[in-house]
Symmetry: C2
Subunit: 209 residues, 2 copies
DNA sequence: TTATACATACATTCGAGGATGTATAATGGG
DNA sequence: CCCATTATACATCCTCGAATGTATGTATAA
């Protein structure tokens, strides 16, 4: 039970992160002590403090583990050279919804960061990162709507900024409400339908998507 | 500083609730001690414990103070005998947005319950109340869409449940995103526009609203 | 005279953050 | 290739402050 190999050390680190997800989801971030996480992971607080400076650092690592790779997908959106950029925007939104529905770990992270965590104090940095990521997604959406308008897929009256705000708010709102109580409505079914409703309201021809 | 009259006692109670709003917003619910609230209110912990059993009880009272009367407005929606119930639904949604923009106390409560509070443990009861309130609003929205369809204001293909989920999610998402950073977009301006976009996508004639 | 509306003081618990111990893997020298 | 050294990956221990809840004191309104 001492001095593991580097691989084993990585495993315990992952075990701590896994345990943190579980306990954070059950008891909330600020109410869980590092001792609880250690116990859930089958180690002592010493191990936790070895791998992470404090709870905020642990939380940050936990978030980065699953939300970090998400940035790559964002780049894909901006680099997309589809004739109609809204097609890709729609695709990725539906992918996001599908992942929230089917990937339990992703769901846990969403639930924790939305309903089991207070974005204040040392968590403010994480909040800012979260917010900045959201803003980059919004910026990409604005670009997509603007491009689509220039290419004639949307009416000239369309305001790209307003349209994008509504689009991302719609998705955020649906997934957030769904994470509060999955039984209220079937997200996998309603999600795409509501998105298409909104896009139709903007004047897009759904047959072209 | 001793034995006040009943009126004065009510004033200190309100002062404690006011202070709680401020401190909760600044530092988050779980990170603020009752001592901080007491100091901010200009009293001691004794006063806080006299008026409230503990932090959860205080939080509950704080929420009820501003969100309690909201239920009455909900009844208004169900009792509304407008020919087109979506007109009233739209009106109330815009009122909600306006209040979030113009009423600082209302905004504080929204920000606290969305971003500065963890819905776990003893707060779970409050979460459930919050959720139940949301579900009642959703139920009222479903009714409104169903009625509107029956009366021919919407195409026969409209699914009232799905339409209502999208509607409330849209509003929730916009106001939530706006509370995270007011500078990203003008809620008072975009809110109604996005709502109308969505309603148009559902097939409603905006001229009739 | 009693209940109220607090202030003050006290006991207890709990979690954070080091300090320290320690067995072993990794590394370098002969 | 073997051995000594060092760094690693934890476990254990200790101290400290902070927050909670309660108990008690007390002046005044009722």
């Amino acid at each position: 039970m001492v001095r593991k190999t580097k691989e084993e050390a990585q495993e315990t680190r992952d075990a701590i992160l896994d345990a943190a997800e579980q306990v954070f989801q059950e008891r909330g971030v600020s109410r869980t002590s590092l001792a609880e996480i250690a116990t859930a992971a089958g180690v002592t607080r010493g191990a936790v403090y070895w791998h992470f400076a404090n709870k905020a650092d642990l939380f940050d690592a936990m978030v980065q583990r699953t939300f970090g790779p998400l940035d790559a997908q964002l780049q894909e959106l901006r680099a997309g050279d589809d004739e109609n950029p809204i097609r890709l925007l729609r695709e990725q939104a539906i992918q996001f919804i599908d992942r929230a529905v089917n990937d339990p770990q992703y769901f846990r992270l969403l639930e924790i960061s939305w309903h089991k965590c207070e974005y204040v104090g040392e968590m403010a940095a994480i909040r800012d990162a979260h917010l900045e990521c959201g803003n980059r997604y919004l910026a990409a959406s604005i670009d997509a709507f603007r491009l689509a308008k220039e290419r004639g897929f949307a009416p000239a009256s369309l305001d790209p900024h307003c349209a994008a705000v509504g689009f991302v708010s719609l998705i955020d709102g649906m997934v957030q409400n769904w994470t509060m109580d999955k039984a209220v409505f079937p997200l996998a079914e309603y999600g795409p339908a509501v998105i298409d409703t909104y896009l139709a309201g903007l004047g897009f021809d759904l047959a072209l998507l």
